[in-house]
Assembly symmetry: C2
Homo-oligomer: 344 residues x 2
DNA sequence: TTGAAAGCGCTAACAG
DNA sequence: CTGTTAGCGCTTTCAA
């Protein structure tokens, strides 16, 4: 190899990207035929298809979906907003949702709102910039500008984890008020005379708590002491919550309804550390039925929400809209279920 | 409203999207000026800037980044591949990484490989289609086609959670072999005579285990019994692991090194269920120093990996490359630290 | 400080 | 079954 040549090589360094045109030339067809070979192979003769495939392999051609999206006005992207990615309740929902939409060729553009409506609004603005084909939102409370942007975008929207009569577009989840009431009923049926609540995180947990406490007060409970945290649930906060309930609110015995299994687990640990018997001294009810719930000591009584089902339903609702299928019900209630184990 | 009019309304329904052109016309400028107003406002006179901003507000214009990306060849997208989104170790890494790159205007396109190289390869192919400006990969083991595609894309790549002398591009993490050795040293220094290992998930955990066991065997341990699970770690599996160790492998006393704090927590729970004292009968060492580790009973001794730091370093490595800064070191070792609490 | 022209790489009609 | 012609809505030169 001569030195000149090498210099020439260096100056040739305009690694012109391999486009459909490149592939087309190599295969001896026009560029659109390559496009067809990729998108509707049936409409291309086997012979040319083979030549094109060969050319693609040889060139290492990687389709450019940003060009494709611009031309077709379909990005095959779904934007998803969840409060927190480290909260397994949301991440596992996303896992199922993602899998379901991926089967139809959609990719997820996911962001965290940190339980903040303002952040959510900002993110929606940013995400719409990518022209997603659809949007998933967590919860039913959104800022007005947020709703407007979404409405203006004219794309399918699904709100999950809650239900409402007035969704932006469609909505799949369950009623937090009903969940709170159901747990209150469970508490009464099992003869508890005192109850407390521990919550963390979002507005939905607060609605469960309110329904829970209200139902119990109406049933004659003197009061329902509570501990609320800003931000996420954790075992640490569960421990702290029981400590506060016992030390500061004179909570001696009864049942504690926690807004998350993680908090409930913390309560369990703190109870043990204090020598309190579960459920004899303090009974505990969690929320979420996370995988570990069946394996705590004692096994945790909790409220199960089928996140896999939720993810799939949300996906199919969106996919139906994307395929132009008219969906009769705007909101789908997947319900919940109290799973009785040993802590209450 | 007349019926005719309403019909007309219906037929008028070609909601022509608001483009820069629309905004430009309204503001009485050319389309490129709007582009400038958005991207380099300094180069536009205050007066026209104001008119443009007003026009944007009035029309509700939402920039189209797919067109922008096509024209500029910069998508402002970073593709990230992690084994599992529900594993908090990875999701919290993503949380920090995401935050760090977002500050520079990048958005994350995240996918799960499920610990599979084949899946990873397929996802890389799919993701490159979106023309991300950079890619983050978990681990240093990738299929050859995967490496080729990435190299061919000619974009910055960062591999995290491990270190190697031969990264695809750059790499930030820590040595799993060293971690395994360090735990073995810790075990010896603390006078334990018997040790076991419980692992789940990935190849990296296995490397830690191998280094751990080898070091101990070399130090004269007769054997290091082990329990390995395919797939993710969980409390349930931790309980199961201790059960197997005790019931099937006659593990009576000693220290158990777990590949995850979650497994360690399960071991703790099972030990308690069996009336085994920790650390007197079985000592336990976790891995990851998850938030709950300090709040188990007893508090968990574990190996801390600074995921926030890792995320930030990975981000800054990528951002440096994206800004054309030559990075001297191709691989950054952020190390780890054994956190001694009460279980060992 | 502003604009005109040319394309980014693909898909969408429409022909043939 | 294949090709031609127009764009998609931006950014990038280059001029003025």
């Amino acid at each position: 190899m001569l030195k000149n040549q090498r210099v020439t090589d260096k100056e040739d360094r305009s690694p012109r990207p391999v486009t459909m045109e490149t592939v087309a030339r190599l295969a001896g067809v026009s560029q659109v035929t390559v496009s067809r070979a990729l998108n509707e192979p049936d409409k291309v003769s086997p012979a040319t298809l083979a030549r094109i495939r060969h050319a693609i392999a040889v060139t290492g051609y990687v389709p450019n979906l940003v060009a494709g999206a611009l031309a077709s006005k379909r990005s095959k992207l779904i934007a998803a907003l969840i409060p927190s990615i480290t909260n397994i309740v949301y991440s596992s929902l996303m896992q199922h949702f993602s899998q379901a939409v991926r089967a139809s060729g959609y990719q997820l553009l996911m962001s965290e709102t940190g339980f903040s409506q303002d952040e959510e609004q900002e993110l929606v603005a940013k995400l719409l910039t990518r022209r997603p084909d659809a949007v998933l939102l967590t919860g039913i409370r959104h800022s007005d500008p947020c709703r407007h942007m979404l409405l203006g975008a004219g794309i399918p929207v699904v709100e999950v984890w809650d239900v409402t009569e007035t969704p932006i577009d469609t909505c799949v989840g369950f009623s937090h008020t009903e969940a709170g009431k159901a747990v209150a009923a469970f508490v009464r049926e099992n003869g508890y005379r005192r109850a407390a609540n521990v919550s963390a995180g979002d507005e939905r947990a607060l609605r469960r708590k309110d329904a829970f406490a209200r139902a119990l007060i109406e049933a004659g409970f003197a009061s329902v002491p509570e501990v609320c945290f800003e931000g996420g649930a954790s075992i640490e906060r569960g421990r702290l919550a029981l400590a506060r309930l016992v030390d500061e609110q004179a909570f001696r015995d009864g049942v504690i309804f926690c807004s998350s299994d993680l908090l409930a687990h913390g309560v369990l640990i703190e109870a043990q550390a204090r020598g309190l018997r579960v459920p004899e001294d303090v009974a505990v009810i969690g929320f979420g039925d996370q995988v570990f719930a069946a394996h705590t000591l004692p096994p945790l009584t909790t409220v199960r929400v089928d996140r896999a089902l939720l993810g799939e339903r949300a996906a199919s609702a969106l996919l139906a809209r994307l395929n132009g299928v008219e969906v009769p019900e705007k909101t789908i209630d997947i319900g919940f279920e109290i799973v009785r184990r040993a802590t209450a």
